[in-house]
Amino acid sequence: MTSWLPVALLAVPLLGAFLLLVAPSLLRPILPAYGMVVSGVTLALAVALVATFDHGQAGRPQATVDLPWVPGLDLRFHLGVDGISLPLVALTALLTFLCFAYLGWGDARRPGQLLHPRPGGARPRALVFTLLVLEVGMIGTFLALDLLLFFVFFEIVLVPMYFLIAIWGGAERRGAAVKFILYTLLGSVVMLLGLLLIWAQTGTLDIVALGQAHGAGMSRAVQVLAFVAVGLGLAVKTPMWPLHTWLPDAHTQAPTVGSVLLAGVLLKMGTYGFARIAIPILPEGAVAVAPWLGAFAVVGIIYGSLACLAQRDLKRMIAYSSVGHMGFVLLGFATLTTVGINGALFANVAHGLITGLLFFLAGAIKDRHHTADIPSLGGGLLARLPHLGAVLTFASIASLGLPGLAGFWGEMLALLGAFQPADVLPRALFLTFMAIGGLGAVLTAAYFLVMLSRATHGVPSVPLPVSAGTGPDDHPADAIVRPAADLAAWETPDERPVAPVGAVPEALDIQRYELVAWVPLIVLILLFGLWPQLLLSLTTPAVQTLLGALS
């Protein structure tokens, strides 16, 4: 099997980043294109990996590379991909490529495209470098089959994301970035202790071997302790309910591209850790901790939904919705059944696509209105920017879990898993989790629709001037100013005080660069929604081998 693919997947972005350091002047004029080319090649490699992957044996790690890395400590550079990590690798490559396309398509001068040097220094070269290093870290985490290698890539991701938030972020970006990196580092340290405990007990770091051993050689107490330690580190990243407060700040301050990758991929690394490390290697620990994990997950669902209901900032609301959706994923893992974990992995990928699209939209709205505060958007987005409003409606409906779109299957399978949890788990408890999760789904629908009604419906209460054309081929602005009489006819009993917007928004509907970035996501959401078997056929065998004794 092509075992060079995983190495190439890591080498290409790394080389791309390195080239940027070596030949800056050479690459500066073609920077946007360069970013797209490197991430495009990585995407092509990922697609090749998917194509050459033997779907029949999705349970077995394939395309493995096993080289000695630190012979002294017998650490091995062990890469490989199986049913669980393949979709996530492809998702990462895709989202990164779409981010580069979003930044660099066309003349890269449109709102939200940070790749052209403008006053105040957008540092385009540093941005491309950071994104490429981020991509290496992300893909590496999903490919690693060695505990320490997993941890190394798990940590590599933090630094570029910190800079992404700290340099290109919003107003209070520095505080948010510091909180993000410290919080996650603290979690990772605890996880490292767990990994070292596993290493000390079993003497090996190879995930595949440990997975097949199903916790042999480790007493129950050790397994519980290790599961709690590793679980805590992963829970911070997921984020699980009490450890989530870094997420809203990080998202509100992160630039659009940062938010997309943070929500689209970084959160998945936490949940992927559960599927790859915590559950297969420490089954007895998993059984002991599962009820608690389920409880926190369910609280997270309700807590996230309620928090979204009262949010005024759009990006902060989407961040809290991620806490809610990740609650479903954790509930799926807590059930320790094939159905539940299948649901969790499906919800993982679906959340990556849907929330990625949502953050692209939130970024687009924020770039146009210079604010993400829903009341001061003035409502009537569908009237002023019909296509943007339509796609926002589509993404919100996908996110609230409408059947026929990707968001539904993950949550439904997680609830089905909670309905019939592993027989070692307390059935009544998981039935209450299922009921609360169901209520959470209703609340999710509530806050998304309330947001839609406030942001997209109603009459745009902010008069639109003729927008200054930002590009030569910009079409004449459509100043949709309804006659005052007509406005009075539609009484708008909106209970939110509508603050007049300081900077006047530009009336540019969806541009070509945004279309390029969003259409693939929309198509994939529809595809996985209408035919979930594409993903489930991959994860089911892998999950069965993963559960081993329990399933």
Partner: protein, 645 residues
């Protein structure tokens, strides 16, 4: 023949996407230049949007017509055998794949048996009528393409529910219907009231759907498969507890979708949507989906006695309360909405009484005449410009065809002999009377039958009231405002464009003749009682109307009028008990999240800085202090060395 169900579902689905994407393609200048000039007729923008509307109309109507043909063909294949209780024919359909969830698999099967064949016909015909009607009704609406696309999507979702052979496939169609009703109720989203009504409709049905999903889980878990055939085969082996639990949870979904008592508050507000939508979704099809589901899984419900009792009680309360509410409404569409809630409760009562054939027969006739009534109401509203009956009157001369059609509709609603309503309502009444003997516990059966008879009377009352106040009495002509200089009012004196009148007339035919399709087996005494009660109600209203044509006959209700108009304050109760507390809780959650959880995080940071602050105090620059510290340290080391070595 076996692929017809798939085709019937796919055609409107593809039409929806075609309508959304292709109606304005290629994106000429039309999209950008609907500037201020849009209001002065005759500009290129108008031609473009008119062209887009025409293309969208064709994209919407043709596939629906094709689906209608397929549905009729399928029903014909099944021989319309369901109504006269004939031998159940072999379902026609196929399985197109299975989703392996790791536990209970989901199989994508679409099949048409006798029950779903009938429903398929009803859905596609009403959808076709509404599509054609909407062409005229929303002639110059800029968002007509998306409107017609959403109707196509709704039609395909309803057909998916009807032809689904697997419970989860049914659930998928079920929820997409909810989405379409949300999108279509909120069609005129400029007015926040409509937007709020749409959100309310979606959330209430979504709440019911969660219960529905859990019911499916219970059934699927017990039967080991989600296929309806397998589930029905396993029903005898299931324990009573599982059956009751499953059916009660399914009841939640039914109550949500068919606007039964606990979750009915969304239907009157759903009248905020365009009238054709009310006709299609909130009269004939979506609200009927709940009843269809119970009929589909009738063996399971029949075996769960407690569920039937609960259904009977809810139905009884629902039918009488809704009927009384309809009597006190001033808005014509809300009258019809409450009438729909009442009639649906009627059908639910029929199911509780144990006869699914009578219920489905009434469902179909109700679908026909209620759609007819809504479309006529649409014409009236289109003509008068307002929904309120207080601004209508004496329209029988101005709208002769609509007057005739509405008369037919109301007669069918009241259950007067020649019309379809009489036969189907009679069949349901017979079933309820039968339930007095066995079927239900006595108290529930008695309550059900009593309320049913009372409802017949009140139905007669509100039907006549609406009829009189709309078409009789003085015409209240409202003077149009003075036209701007240089322009004249274009008065369209014709009653309504043909695209609106043709569907009305077409629907009037089944409203009259459908009664005879049900096999004509009548039960004389029950029929006589129901007709007498209906005429009694009508007479009382007619008498009070005769005495004072201007005043509203609803004054008969006296002190009860205000509660009836507010539908017994159920809405306010829900707002106070559920809506406001959740919003308050949300605010509380955000505050605690900010102060407690985030506070703990920020606090840890601050306390670390505070600690360092303490240590910094020692660095006060006093050299002697440093040296003292130094020497004290040395002494300690010396002591340590001396002591421990």
């Amino acid at each position: 023949m076996t692929t017809f169900p798939l085709l019937a579902v796919l055609l409107p689905f593809l039409a929806a996407f075609a309508g959304l994407l292709l109606s304005r393609w290629p994106r000429g200048r039309a999209r950008q230049s609907n500037g201020p000039a849009a209001h002065v007729g005759g500009t290129p923008a108008d031609e473009d949007s008119a062209r887009a509307n025409r293309r969208a109309a064709w994209i919407a109507v043709v596939p629906t017509a094709a689906a209608a043909v397929l549905a009729v063909w399928l029903a014909w294949g099944q021989g319309f055998a369901f109504l006269d209780g004939g031998a159940r024919s072999v379902p026609v359909g196929d399985t197109y794949g299975a989703i392996d969830t790791g536990g209970v698999p989901i199989s994508l099967t679409l099949q048409a048996d006798d029950l779903s064949g009938l429903l398929g016909v009803l859905v596609t015909l009403v959808a076709l009528a509404v599509q054609i009607y909407s062409i005229g009704y929303l002639k110059d609406d800029p968002r007509y393409p998306s409107y017609s696309a959403f109707i196509s999507l709704f039609t395909s979702a309803m057909l998916l529910v009807v032809y689904a052979g697997d419970l989860l496939v049914l659930y998928v169609g079920w929820e997409i219907m909810g989405l379409c009703s949300y999108l279509l109720i909120g069609h005129w989203w400029e007015d926040r009231g409509n937007s709020r009504a749409a959100v309310k409709a979606f959330l209430v049905t979504r709440l019911g759907d969660v219960g529905f999903l859990f019911g499916i889980f219970v059934l699927g878990g017990a039967a080991g498969s989600f296929r309806i055939a397998d589930v029905l085969a396993k029903v005898p082996e299931m324990s009573a507890g599982t059956l009751v639990a499953a059916t009660m949870l399914l009841l939640a979904g039914v109550a949500g979708k068919s606007a039964q008592v606990p979750l009915h508050t969304w239907l009157p507000d759903a009248m905020a949507g365009p009238t054709p939508i009310s006709a299609l979704i909130h009269a004939a099809t979506m609200v009927a989906a709940g009843i269809f589901l119970v009929a589909r899984l009738f063996p399971a419900f029949a075996a769960a006695r407690p569920t039937l009792d609960v259904l009977a009680v809810l139905a009884a309360l629902g039918m009488l309360g809704a009927a009384l509410a309809a009597l006190a409404q001033d808005d014509l569409k809300r009258v019809l909405a409450y009438s729909t809630v009442s009639q649906l409760a009627y059908m639910a009562g029929g199911l509780a009484a144990g006869s699914d054939t009578a219920t489905i027969f009434h469902l179909i006739t109700h679908g026909a005449f209620k759609a007819l009534l809504f479309l006529c109401a649409g014409v009236v509203i289109h003509h008068v410009g307002s929904n309120l009956m207080s601004q209508m009157g004496g329209l029988r001369r101005e709208l002769p065809i609509t007057f005739a059609a509405t008369t037919v509709g109301f007669a069918a609603l009241m259950g007067l002999p020649p019309f379809s309503g009489f036969f189907s309502k009679d069949a349901v009444l017979v079933a309820m009377e039968g339930a007095l003997a066995g079927g239900l516990t006595d108290a529930a059966a008695l309550l059900l039958y009593g309320c049913a008879l009372a409802t017949v009377a009140v139905t007669g009352a509100y039907a006549t009231r609406a009829w009189l106040r709309t078409f009789f009495g003085r015409t209240r002509t409202v003077a149009l405002p003075e036209p701007e200089p240089g322009t004249a009012h274009v008065i369209d004196t014709r009653e309504a464009p043909p695209t609106m009148l043709v569907p009305v007339v077409l629907l009037a035919v089944p409203a009259v003749l459908l009664g005879f399709a049900g096999g004509l087996h009548l039960d004389a005494p029950v029929a006589v009682i129901s007709v007498v009660l209906a005429l009694l109600g009508a007479a009382v209203v007619y008498a009070s109307w005769r005495s004072d044509p201007v005043a509203d006959p609803a004054r008969l209700l006296g002190p009860l009028r205000q509660p009836c108009e507010q539908a017994f304050y159920v809405d306010h109760l829900y707002a106070a008990v559920i809506a406001r507390p959740i919003v308050a809780l949300a605010g509380l959650v955000v505050r605690t999240d900010d102060t407690v959880v985030d506070g703990a995080v920020r606090g840890s940071g601050r306390s670390a800085r505070g600690l360092s602050g303490l240590l910094r105090l020692a660095q006060n620059g006093n050299v002697q202090l440093y040296v003292s510290g130094l020497l004290a340290g040395v002494l300690l080391i010396v002591v340590g060395a001396v002591m421990f070595t």
